[in-house]
Symmetry: C2
Subunit: 307 residues, 2 copies
C-alpha cells in the first residue's frame, strides 16, 4: 500500500574524508522516499524553488515516486553545507539556507488521501500535526524529529507525539526528549507520551525498537537490529532518513501490522542505511535493485542470527 | 574442559548512583572466573595479600574454582576505588593501590598444566607472554589488554598478540591499538597482528567478533551479539571481565572449536555481562543458576532473532 512522506528536499554541499560534492540532491524526504520506493508506492509532499529542474524531478520519477505534492515556490530550494571530519558520526554545518523551506506549508494533493501510511519527516511539530489531522484515514503514522524541536518547541512536539504511532529518533534525542540518561527508561518515558513503538537509532551500532505494552501484539520486549560494519563510509548524510525509508516502506508493503513485521522492518531500515553511506548523497539509493537489498538483508541476518 | 585464568584479585571501593560499597571482592580475575565457573572447571592464578582471608576464599570455593594458583604474599591485596557519576560507562578512579600486585609473577601449579584453555587477563603483556609460553599445551588462548599497555608497552604487546588466539577489547582500545578510527578497518589491522579472532566490546550496544579470513571455518564475516537494555545498572564494574568469563567459559565447555561455538559464546558473554551489573561487585555472579543463564540466553535470542 502507498505511503505519503512529508519533509525537506535540498541541495547539499558536502565534504567528507572521501571527497567533496557541490549542490547535490539531498534533504530528508529525498533520502526517505528513494529508500521507501524499493518496497512500496511513495508519494511526496515538499516545497522546492525555481532551481529545482527536470534533472532533479527525473531522480524521483525514475523510482516511480509521485511528485504531485512537490510545490514550486518563487526563490531557491533549501541548501545545506557541511563537513564530516575525523568523526563521521557528526557533521559540522558550514551553512543552512532555508530559502523556500522557511515558509513550507504542506499541501496534500487530494489524490494522496487514500494512502494508509504516512511519514512525517523532520519539520516543525505543528506542521506534522496538521498533516496528520488532514490525513485522518491513515492506519499508521511514523515520524522523525530532532534536538532543535525537542528544545525549542517542546509543548507542540508533545502534542504531535499523541498522534504518532512510531517515532524514529537517535540515542541523544531520546534521552533529551525523556530527560533521562538510561536508554530503556528513556524509551519507557517517550512511549508514555503517545507512540505505540519507538525506534532508537544507534548509528554504527544499529537500532532498537521498544514497544508499548501490548502494542502490535503481546509483551513489551524490545528488539535490536544491527548496522553493518562498513570499511568505507563515503558520506553519512541521510543514513537516518534512508533507515526510516526502508523501515516505513517495508511496513507499508506488508498486508498486516504486527511485531514480526516491525522487526523485519528494522532490519530493512538498517539495510537501506548501509547502502546510502557507500556513495555521496542519494547516489546509491538511485540505482539499487530489490535483489541487492534482499541479499544484504541476508547478510544482516547472518551477522546476528545463530544457527 | 578446564580453563586457566590469570589476572587480578582486588578489593574495590565503589560509588554509583545506586549506592556505595567498601572493600568488596573484585578484580578482573574474580569476575572472569566466577562467570566462567557456570560453564566449565576454572583454575586461577593470582596474587593476594594477608588481608585475603577464608571469607574471600569461600567465594571461589563455592563455585568450585581451583585456587591452588592463588599466591599469598606479604602485604596488602590490590585495592581500587572509583566512582561512576552520571555516565555509567566511565569510572572516575579515586585511588589505585597495587600493593602485592605490583610484583606479581604468575606461578602456574603443575596440576594446571593439562588445561587446554587459557585466559590472560589484563596484566603486563610480557607476563602474559610468559604464562602462554609455560602453558604450551593449550589449544586456545584468550586475552585482554587496556590503554595503559597499548600506549606504554606497545612493542611487548605486539609480541604477545602473536600467541593470542582471541583478543577481547573495547572500541576505544581497538582503535588505539590499530591507529585507525574506522572499526572494521581497525579490526582488520589488529587481526593482522596475530589473533585468529577479535572481540570488540561496545558496552551497552553489545559486541562484535571479527574473524581472520579462514580462521575457525570458512569466510570472514563478522558477527554481532547484543547487550540487554537494562533499566537499573547498579554497578558496571567487571562487566567486561564477566563478558570474557562467559565467552571463554562457554568455549571451553564445548567439544569443538568453530564459528558457531564462538558466536554462541559471544551471546553467553553478553548474558554474563548483563547479570553482573545488576548488583554491586561480583554479588550477582556468586548466586546464579545455569537455568537463569540459559533463560537469559533465550531473551538475548528473542532480542535479535527474526522468526
Amino acid at each position: 500500500m502507498s505511503i505519503v512522506g512529508v519533509g525537506s528536499i535540498a541541495f547539499d554541499t558536502i565534504t567528507t574524508p572521501s571527497g567533496h560534492r557541490d549542490n547535490i540532491l539531498g534533504g530528508s524526504l529525498t533520502h526517505f522516499s528513494l529508500a521507501a520506493s524499493y518496497f512500496t508506492d511513495v508519494r511526496v509532499v515538499a516545497v522546492v524553488g525555481e532551481d529545482f529542474g527536470p534533472e532533479q524531478e527525473e531522480v524521483f520519477r525514475k523510482r516511480n515516486i509521485d511528485i504531485r505534492g512537490i510545490e514550486r515556490a518563487p526563490g531557491k530550494t533549501f541548501r545545506w553545507g557541511g563537513k564530516y571530519l575525523e568523526n563521521l558520526n557528526e557533521a559540522k554545518t558550514d551553512f543552512t539556507e532555508l530559502n523556500v523551506f522557511e515558509r513550507f506549508q504542506p499541501r496534500i494533493p487530494r489524490e494522496y488521501m487514500d494512502s494508509k501510511f504516512l511519514f512525517l519527516g523532520n519539520i516543525h511539530p505543528s506542521l506534522q500535526a496538521e498533516v496528520r489531522q488532514k490525513m485522518d484515514g491513515v492506519s499508521l503514522t511514523g515520524g522523525d524529529t530532532m534536538n532543535f524541536w525537542i528544545n525549542g518547541t517542546r509543548s507542540e512536539l508533545i502534542q504531535t507525539l499523541k498522534v504518532m504511532d512510531v517515532l524514529l529518533i537517535n540515542d541523544t534525542e531520546a534521552k533529551m526528549l525523556a530527560g533521562e540518561k538510561n536508554l530503556p527508561r528513556a524509551a519507557r518515558k517517550v512511549l508514555a507520551m503517545g507512540p505505540q513503538a519507538l525506534v532508537i537509532k544507534h548509528g554504527e551500532y544499529g537500532a532498537t525498537i521498544f514497544f508499548r505494552e501490548g502494542a502490535f501484539g503481546i509483551g513489551s520486549h524490545p528488539f535490536r537490529a544491527p548496522a553493518l560494519p562498513i570499511e568505507e563510509v563515503q558520506d553519512p548524510t541521510g543514513a537516518g532518513d534512508a533507515f526510516a525509508g526502508g523501515f516505513m516502506g517495508y511496513i507499508a508493503s506488508q498486508g498486516e501490522l504486527n511485531r514480526e513485521v516491525l522487526k523485519r522492518a528494522l532490519f530493512y531500515g538498517g539495510v537501506m542505511g548501509s547502502f546510502i553511506v557507500e556513495r555521496f548523497g542519494s547516489e546509491r539509493l538511485q540505482s539499487l535493485t530489490r535483489k541487492e537489498i534482499d541479499s544484504r538483508f541476508q547478510v544482516f541476518r547472518e551477522l546476528t542470527h545463530l544457527e
